[in-house]
């Protein structure tokens, strides 16, 4: 069992995923063993991959009766997953709040859109450029990470506002409130994605392939040296420092990576929407991303998927309600009026009753035999 890094290597942390206790490599040949080990480590990826691959086959059939265009919505879930998993690295793992990630999402969207519109880049070059620009911008504003806790949250909220104002006011570049129109659809060299009869399905696959790769990247990352450093500095910055972790650098890395992923999501978003304006990238989006992280589960890669799914589908379900119920009270009609009530309640109730979110709560239940719920009114022995 010495470390050839394959079969013998057991997995220290599953990113919050419950894992079977059966850990006996047995007497298989080494290649079979490594295959088994890959399946064991990545069974959730395989499961999700299979589900997503088969999803469009039946989704179209039930979309109509359901009143929700499932494939279309799932594209958005994929995009938000990319941004949320990055934000979860920052908030859930490294413990640094950002209430301004819509800025990076927006900068990504604008970068790719502008490069395609004004410099005639193809989208498959525009999107990597969006990632790069968001990352550089993230690095530029990284000094705010010197702030802690509430101060960091307020400062990032402020950053989001500053970026928003600039996106709106630099009309010569961004078109201001009118936004940018006719952003080219996605295509790869030799492969048109965002065109043709099946464009939704093709975009869906494109987005989810990228999302799964991002998830895989983060899944590996959090179980590595860097991931442990983030978790450690979250739990005790002083102890992590004294153990030799360069705390400020680790924070910056997490921040830049999360900014880059938000930029990636934003870049893709611009091309599938075809139209962007600054009002898509306000504090509302920042809070939505945070809600995804919190609801899905901090400190969990899968939480990002669950959170993005739940938060993206809620409005669609509510919009479809009249179709299901025939008639709804009139105040339920205009969803945008009370979506904040739902988000707000979700955030507050999650914090009070299930502070670790869905996936992480469930994982802990399996791993440490702990209830996923907390009772906030329980008296503790020591105040």
């Amino acid at each position: 069992m010495e470390g050839d890094g394959k079969g013998a290597r057991r997995v220290p942390r599953d990113g919050g995923v419950p894992r079977g206790t059966g850990d006996t490599p047995g007497r298989f040949s080494s290649s079979a063993r490594s295959l088994l080990s890959i399946i064991r480590s990545y069974h959730l990826f395989l499961g999700l991959g299979v589900f997503l691959a088969l999803f469009p086959l039946w989704a179209d059939r039930i979309s109509r009766p359901l009143g929700i265009p499932l494939v279309m919505v799932m594209r958005l879930v994929g995009i938000y997953t990319i941004a949320a998993v990055g934000l979860n690295l920052l908030i859930g793992y490294a413990g640094q709040v950002s209430l301004g990630h819509a800025a990076f999402f927006g900068v990504g969207a604008y970068t790719s859109a502008l490069l395609c519109l004004k410099a005639h880049f193809p989208p498959w070059l525009g999107i990597p450029a969006a990632v790069a620009v968001s990352a550089v911008l993230g690095f530029t504003v990284a000094p705010v990470l010197r702030l802690k806790g509430h101060y960091l949250a307020m400062a990032t909220l402020g950053l989001g506002m500053v970026f928003f104002v600039f996106m709106r006011e630099m009309t010569w570049l961004t078109g201001g409130n009118d936004g940018l129109r006719n952003i080219p659809a996605l295509y790869l060299p030799g492969l048109a994605i965002g065109e043709g009869r099946d464009y939704l399905r093709k975009e869906y696959f494109f987005i989810w392939i990228i999302a799964l790769l991002v998830l895989l990247f983060c899944h590996n990352l959090v179980r590595s040296r860097s991931g442990r450093a983030m978790l450690a500095l979250h739990q005790s910055e002083v102890a992590a420092e004294v153990m030799g972790v360069d705390v400020s650098w680790e924070k910056i890395k997490a921040f830049v990576l999360s900014a880059a992923l938000a930029g990636l999501a934003g870049g893709i978003f611009a091309h599938i929407q075809g139209y962007i304006d600054p009002n898509l990238f306000t504090i509302v989006l920042s809070i939505q991303l945070v809600t995804m992280v919190v609801v899905g589960g901090m400190e969990s890669i899968w939480g990002a998927v669950a959170g993005a799914g739940v938060i993206t589908f809620i409005p669609k379900v509510v919009e479809a309600l009249p179709k299901w119920l025939g008639e709804v009270p009139h105040w339920l009609e205009k969803y945008s009026n009370y979506e904040g009530i739902i988000y707000g309640l979700i955030l507050v109730l999650t914090m009070v009753f299930m502070p670790k979110g869905i996936t992480r709560g469930l994982a802990d239940m399996v791993r440490y035999r702990r209830s996923p719920f907390v009772n906030p009114w329980r008296k503790k022995a020591l105040e």
């Binding site: 908030i91 413990g95 709040v97 209430l99 000094p143 705010v144 010197r146 702030l147 802690k148 806790g149 509430h150 101060y151 949250a153 307020m154 400062a155 909220l157 402020g158 950053l159 506002m161 500053v162 928003f164 104002v165 600039f166 709106r168 006011e169 910055e237 002083v238 504090i283 809070i287 945070v290 809600t291 919190v294 901090m298 105040w331 009026n337 009370y338 979506e339 904040g340 009530i341 988000y343 707000g344 309640l345 979700i346 955030l347 507050v348 914090m351 009070v352 502070p355 906030p376 009114w377 503790k380 105040e383």
Partner: protein, 298 residues
Amino acid sequence: MLDFLRNFPQYLANGMANGCLYILVAMGFNIIYNSTGIINFAQGEFSMFGGLFTYALAVSAGLPIPLAALLAVLATGAVGGAMERLMIHPLRRAGVLTAIIATVGASIFFKSLGRVFWPSEAYKVPEFTPGTFRLPGATVSKQFLWVTGLTVVCVALVYLFFSRTRAGKAMRACSVNRQAATLVGINVSRMSLYSFVLAAALGGAAGLINAPFASYGMGLEIGIKGFTASVVGGLGNTFGAVVGGLVLGLLEELIPGFLNVVLGVSTGYKGAVSAIILIAVLLFRPQGLLGRGIAEKV
């Protein structure tokens, strides 16, 4: 440059008026921070409630304005109290991250609640005494006098509360050392409740002097500006908020005014000024202009 100087008195007057608003919001931030260690991200929404309640009572229900204003402030205080009991109290042992996200959630919730009941973009809250008067170089609404007066009264009342009443003194003790306060028999949990009620009432008062307009969307901006004011004055320094609010109010008029008139920059950037000031102060002078800064403990 000359135009800028000519407008100067007007900037001062506008800045003072906004400054009064920020003072009240900033004091709310400080009071809650002192007794609970929490930055309440829903503080701006208290002002939204103050404004919308006043509208509802004065315009929709037709009450006389002073009565409507008073009731609106009290009702906002009650909202703050309810928030404390239902959310902050159960979370009193939770970490900073949890507190941040929960109060952000409350802010979204309040804003949306406002939107459901008062869905228009803006409601005109009646001025106490309509009309304007002229000073050399500036036109000032009569409301300005009310705003200043109300702010002075509020600050004075808060001062008396903290220096003369038992509850006020107990809350000051909490801000110095919560644990020690518990040991000498102060009910810290009740002080937390009081602080939310007081902060909400102050926020409500700020909302009603924000006339002529109130809307569901005003909370975020007021919140972040009020917080900026409290940081400029030194977070936790309740009366530093007075300085912070005035400084921010003036800068927020003078900087965009200067940029616009002298350099021709669009006034649309005004919205970014307070956020930039906030970030700059947090990074370079976290203790605020007056000191007693609190760089968060290790």
